[in-house]
């Protein structure tokens, strides 16, 4: 597993956890320790938090936390409010708590999926117009602080 690219690391570890139904995982390599914990919260999007500890040149560790936003309902994933509109978020965008990340259409109802965290979008893991199931991973957000 490549530990140099945190952004691609998150979805891969998260997929691994889902596959083996793990609640928590800790991996170490390339001077990096990664701990990912899944919290299933009924009625809310299932979020996963990742703590990455990177051994810096001065040997002081920096903490990076990434959360995975997953689909709280089964439906069709849309990145924008209407087909011609610009997407709510792009990779690299900063989001605040409560910002709309995407829409999931279920039974003609448009469900706004909002961010529970302030931070930076580091990955978008579903395609516009794609059918997503409950629990599907949609976004990875690097949490501020």
């Amino acid at each position: 597993m490549d530990f140099t690219d945190v952004e691609s690391l998150v979805p891969r570890i998260a997929a691994l956890m889902r596959e083996h139904d793990l609640a928590e995982i800790e991996l170490e390599g390339d001077g990096l320790r990664v701990r990912l914990r899944r919290e299933a919260r009924v009625g809310h999007s299932d979020s996963q938090s990742l703590q990455v500890t990177r051994g810096g040149s001065d040997n002081t560790a920096t903490d990076v936390s990434v959360v995975v936003v997953s689909a709280p309902v089964v439906g069709t994933f849309y990145r924008s409010a209407e087909p011609t509109a610009t997407p709510f978020v792009e990779v690299g965008d900063r989001v605040r708590r409560g910002d709309v990340l995407c829409i999931i259409e279920a039974m003609k109802q448009m469900n706004d999926i909002t961010s529970h965290y302030a931070g930076q979008v580091v990955a978008i893991q579903a395609e516009n117009g794609e059918a997503v199931e409950f629990g599907a991973q949609l976004f990875a957000i690097k949490i501020d602080g």
Binding site: G43, V74, A106, A131, V132, A136
Partner: protein, 447 residues
């Protein structure tokens, strides 16, 4: 015929519906909860879609989740199986509004039969005898007054009830007054409807039911009667067809009356009409189950009619493939429900299945979704497998069932196999003298 059917259920009935879809050349999509992600039906279906977390309320009982899953997977129809949303008028309505087909009766019929007080009235008008009982009773004073008119013991039942849940028997006015608030609360929890009604409790009765199939063109057949008297707290454990003490003219007459009632209510699809048969041979309508039932398999064995395939065909607008004169039951069939419960205490026994050996051989059928490594989840029904045995006559069917159970081995969880074997060798069962209180008494006597 449909191209794709979404199955909004789990366990053995999901596998059973996948089997029917496959034989019909229909694509199957299983809607499942997060905890069933590794379950057999999820792997057997052409596609699986996770619709919510483990609690049924947020997955298998969620109309928006089920309908949304059908839409995103391109399904034409939803098969609800039994339990969960199988008799949900809300799901049936939503299907119509969203251009999907609900594989079951129309919403109006579901509402009519789902309201047990209304169903009793409709069936009485259609010519069936009903048990002496009341309308919905709202307060204790009224309940005590009307109870005195119909006579004790009395069965307190939920108006929106069914499937044996929320029922209790009381012997006198004091017990009734005590039971009523509890029954109302139970009904509210189980069905979201606290209405209660009362019925005379018929002791020493058998539970007899008729399997019916009706298409949208008014063709109706019944597949004869099943005897499901062996129940624990109104949950069936052993079923057989035909019933040991019915048959002949009485049975045919009831069959004809049921067929007429099916037409009268505009019923479409597979369903079951349940009766109590008293020691004098009188049959009283209890309730109609507007869905495929757990025990449909034994009727399939003796008649050769594939109930689930017919159900799907009917929903697709096709004519019933059978006429009453073509339905000629052969021999006798018995079903035993093996559940993950302790054979003596009947305490639920969730866990991982470590050993699973299932029986086969002449006249034996097993419907199951159990597998080694599979989990019996505390979230759902503890049914592990339905073992069915058919013979030339009842004697041979019983011998085959006992043989089949003796060749079954399930480890990792407790199972009811020892209790089922005890029932199958009980003199009252062998003589065909069991009533609906048989099993509860057998368990109570042992305790």
């Amino acid at each position: 015929m449909f191209k794709t059917v979404l199955i909004a259920n789990r366990g053995e009935i999901a596998v059973r519906i996948i089997a029917a879809c496959r034989e019909l050349g229909v694509r199957s999509v299983v809607a499942h909860s997060q905890s069933d992600i590794d379950a057999l039906p999820v792997r057997l279906a052409d596609r699986a879609i996770c619709i919510g977390p483990a609690p049924s309320r947020l997955s298998y009982l969620s109309v928006p989740a089920v309908v949304s899953a059908a839409q995103v997977s391109g399904a034409d129809a939803i098969h609800p199986g039994y339990g969960f949303l199988s008799e949900s008028a809300e799901l049936a309505d939503t299907c119509v509004q969203t251009g999907l087909v609900f594989i079951g009766p129309p919403a109006t019929v579901l509402r009519q039969l789902g309201d047990k007080v209304q169903a009793r009235q409709v069936m009485r008008e259609a010519g069936l005898s009903i048990i002496r009982g009341t309308e919905t009773v709202n307060d204790i004073d009224t309940a005590v007054r009307v109870a005195a008119e119909i006579g004790y013991p009395i069965m307190v039942k939920a108006t929106a009830g069914g499937g044996g849940r929320g029922m209790r028997v009381v012997e006198n006015a004091a017990a009734l007054a005590a039971a009523l608030p509890i029954a109302r609360r139970e009904a509210e929890t189980a069905f979201g409807d606290s209405r209660i009604y009362l019925e005379t409790f018929i002791d020493q009765a058998r539970h007899i039911e008729y399997q019916v199939l009706a298409d949208s063109r008014g063709r109706v057949v019944h597949l004869g009667e099943r005897d499901c008297s062996i129940q624990r707290r109104h949950q069936k454990m052993v079923e057989e067809t035909p019933a040991v003490d019915v048959g002949g003219d009485a049975s045919r007459r009831t069959g004809e009356l049921v067929t007429a009632a099916v037409r009268a209510v505009g019923y479409v699809g597979a369903g079951t009409f349940e009766f109590l048969r008293d020691p004098q041979g009188r049959q009283y309508f209890m309730e109609a189950n507007a869905r495929v039932q757990v025990e449909h398999g034994i009727s399939e064995m003796v008649t050769g009619v594939d109930v689930v395939k017919e159900q799907i065909r009917i929903a697709a607008g096709e004519s019933l493939g059978w006429q009453q004169q073509d339905v000629a039951p052969r021999g006798h069939a018995i079903e035993c429900r093996i559940t993950a419960e302790h054979p003596k205490t009947l305490a639920p026994s969730p866990g991982a299945i470590t050993v699973l050996t299932l029986p086969g051989g002449p006249g034996v059928r097993v419907d199951t979704a159990a597998e080694v490594g599979g989990m019996v989840s505390p979230f759902y029904d503890p049914l592990l497998a339905k073992v069915m045995a058919q013979g030339r006559d009842r004697h041979e069917a019983i011998a085959r069932m006992r043989r089949a159970l003796s060749m079954t081995s399930i480890k990792g969880v407790d199972t009811t196999i020892p209790l089922l074997q005890e029932i199958l060798s009980h003199p009252n069962f062998l003589d065909g003298r069991v009533t609906t209180t048989f099993l509860d008494r057998l368990i109570a006597d042992r305790a």
